[in-house]
């Protein structure tokens, strides 16, 4: 795994962050990160409802060492806090998920969602403006027509590049419970939004109507035992999607079978090991993220302590299980007390589906190579991340003698957690969100 130990780290901070990362504001906490389908753009959403989009610099021959840095491209306020007067509930503006649409023209489109409302944003560039109007002067004031003695044709003059974001669609009032995920279909015409109990199918053009395709709300809420935690469309089959549950199972559904996909076509679940039963068994088996592989043959799921890769053809057990931080198994009680046990970690595939990555505590994140079965723990921290520095693998000491570079389990900082990461679709570039800081690491090229 040599290539993963050499990085050119860059650190980006949202404009309003205070210099020290220990006294950031709550609104600056990054809540989602996502590369677009070419990797040219990287979007982040935060708790304050803002979206910041980074764009990769074109490679230039004059500055070869600045190979494709990411710079801020656009910043806009996607969602505002709202109040539901009927239920006396405040609706948080925190961006839960961002998903890009594949580019079809000069503009970029993304979907962003908070707990209740999905919005389609168009990000477009403007680098020319018309000048030389007849009926208004350069300041925009209307001219008195009687003072006009000649006519001229307005011409487009170059101007400083301006990137503007406009909300093109607002998809609202379709979810009673909190939206946890959105996923764009490969048909590029529809997408799904998912809350705790329902999955709704939308057409990107139509905002006043959505179809409910999964509904696990029991007739009697007393019988509720599981909720939906995430859902995603298959990358190639536009009729197939998967959703994960709080009970640790995944269901694959085929929309051609019925209008309401309550009956799954495949059901993935691994039986619980009774020897590991504890007070918290239900919590740690709840799946926090589900992702199809790029080739569409595998599914990856993340629960509190492990990442699992499932073969779509094998439902009774996962193909591979990776321990992310098993040393936390003995600390579940204190993690329950400080609410860390409810943290929802995400997981990502690399472009070739050979490596998977997920976050942990103490600003650690882990990578697992599926072919060599080797894994590495890396840290996203200011001290370790000077430009062109190489990230050093970290190790957590579980007991006994602690070696010099190791860190003991009790010294881990549980307030520093990496929940959101994303991997460039083709290259070895990763973006890692550590509280309010965004780290972008690139594979070093000689």
């Amino acid at each position: 795994m040599k290539c993963f130990s050499r990085y050119l780290p860059y650190i980006f901070r949202p404009p309003s962050t205070i210099l020290s990362s220990t006294c950031h504001t709550e609104a600056d906490i990054i809540s989602t990160v996502e590369f677009n389908s070419t990797g040219e753009l990287l979007a982040t959403g935060d708790k304050g409802g803002r979206v910041v989009v980074f764009q990769r610099e074109q490679e230039s021959k004059t500055q070869p060492h600045r190979r494709g840095e990411y710079n801020v491209y656009s910043t806009f306020q996607s969602h505002e806090p709202e109040f539901d007067y009927l239920k006396s509930l405040e609706i948080e503006e925190k961006i839960n998920k961002i998903k890009w649409l594949p580019q079809q023209n000069a503009a970029y489109f993304l979907l962003s969602t908070n707990d209740k409302t999905v919005k389609l944003w168009k990000i477009s560039e403007r680098d020319k403006r018309p000048e030389g109007y007849n009926l208004k002067d350069e300041d925009g004031r209307i001219r008195d027509p009687s003072t006009i003695t000649s006519l001229r044709v307005p011409v487009l003059q170059p101007m400083d590049l301006m990137v503007e974001a406009t909300a093109r669609r607002v998809f609202s009032n379709a979810h009673t419970y909190h939206i946890n995920s959105i996923s764009v279909n490969s048909d590029l015409q529809t997408y799904i939004s998912t809350d705790d109990l329902r999955v709704n199918l939308w057409n990107l053009e139509i905002t006043d109507r959505s179809f409910n395709i999964v509904d696990i709300k029991p007739a009697n809420m007393e019988e509720l035992t599981e909720v939906i935690t995430s859902a995603e469309f298959h990358p190639q089959h536009c009729h197939t999607f998967a959703y994960s549950s709080s009970k640790g199972s995944i269901r694959l559904c085929d929309m051609r079978q019925a209008a309401l996909c309550d009956r799954h076509s495949k059901y993935f679940e691994e039986p619980e090991d009774p020897s590991t039963r504890s007070f918290f068994s239900e919590i740690i088996s709840s799946i926090s993220d589900v992702k199809f592989s790029h080739n569409g043959r595998y599914l990856m799921t993340r629960d509190y302590l492990t990442v699992k890769v499932w073969d779509l053809q094998m439902e009774n057990k996962p193909l591979e299980t990776y321990q992310v931080h098993d040393y936390l198994r003995g600390k579940l009680c204190s993690l329950y007390e400080n609410d860390c046990i409810f943290d929802k970690f995400e997981c990502v595939w690399n472009g070739s589906d050979s490596v998977i990555m997920t976050g942990s505590y103490n600003n650690f994140f882990r990578m697992f190579d599926r072919n060599t079965k080797r894994d590495v723990t890396l840290e996203a921290s200011r001290e370790n991340s000077k430009p062109r520095a190489i990230l050093k693998p970290r190790k957590v000491c579980v007991g006994g003698k602690r070696r010099k570079d190791e860190i003991s389990v009790d010294s881990l900082d549980f307030s520093k957690k990496i929940l959101h990461t994303t991997w460039h679709p083709q290259e070895n570039i990763i973006a890692v969100a550590a509280t309010n800081n965004l780290y972008i690491f690139q594979d070093k090229v000689n």
Binding site: K87, I91, M221, L224, S246, E282, F342
Partner: protein, 257 residues
Amino acid sequence: MEGAVDAQSLISMSLMKIHSSRTQRGGIKLHKNLLVSFVLRNARQVYLKERYAQIYRMQQYQEVLTVCDEIQELDPLDPLDPDLEEPGQDAALPGCGKDPDPPDPPDYPSCCLEAPLSHCTRTTVLDLDTHVVTTVENGFLHQDCCCAAPQCAPDPNPEPPDPNPDPAPRKRKGGFRSSEEEEEEVSDFTGSRKRLKREDGPEPNPEQLDSSNISNLISIFGSGFSGLLSRQADLEQICSKQALASLGAWTRAIVAF
């Protein structure tokens, strides 16, 4: 699983979490509260197991004492005059020293098996989809039933009669529910709060249990919480239906807020 002491603190912690989730921004999170309710159920199971084991040991202890008494009565060295038999003589028999006032765990297992399922309590739930508030008479309160039944130990805090007997579910507009519900629940569940406090009385560390907080929360969630303890095997015949119902009532009560 961990012992009963951890179970108590988990129960306390879980109830605090559910309580604080009502006031946090963004409204109540169904997923998190469902997971917390599982921990609550698991902790309650362990807690009850320990209590039943304790009660069983107490009962066995009582039996041993009875046997000791009988042996003592038959002791040929003692005069047959019953007047000379004093409680103090019991102390002469080591191991049979009788604590005149043993700690009083509620002997609800035996009496629950006998007691009729008479007592009803209410759960008020709000369906988030239809915005309809429903007040439903639920099954039975496990410990309420026990303590109200005549077979149990005399009740120093007699249960006040239900002030608003209303067997039919009532529906109300959602808009005005919050203040009205609070009042109704406090008046309905005052009795259960008292009963719970008495049950928690013998605990060695009341601060740890924080019983007043728990009692207040019980008063809000009513029968759903007590129903959670109905998973023991020997109670399954009576409680099996209520076990599922109560966990759900718990969840419904969560959804209501």
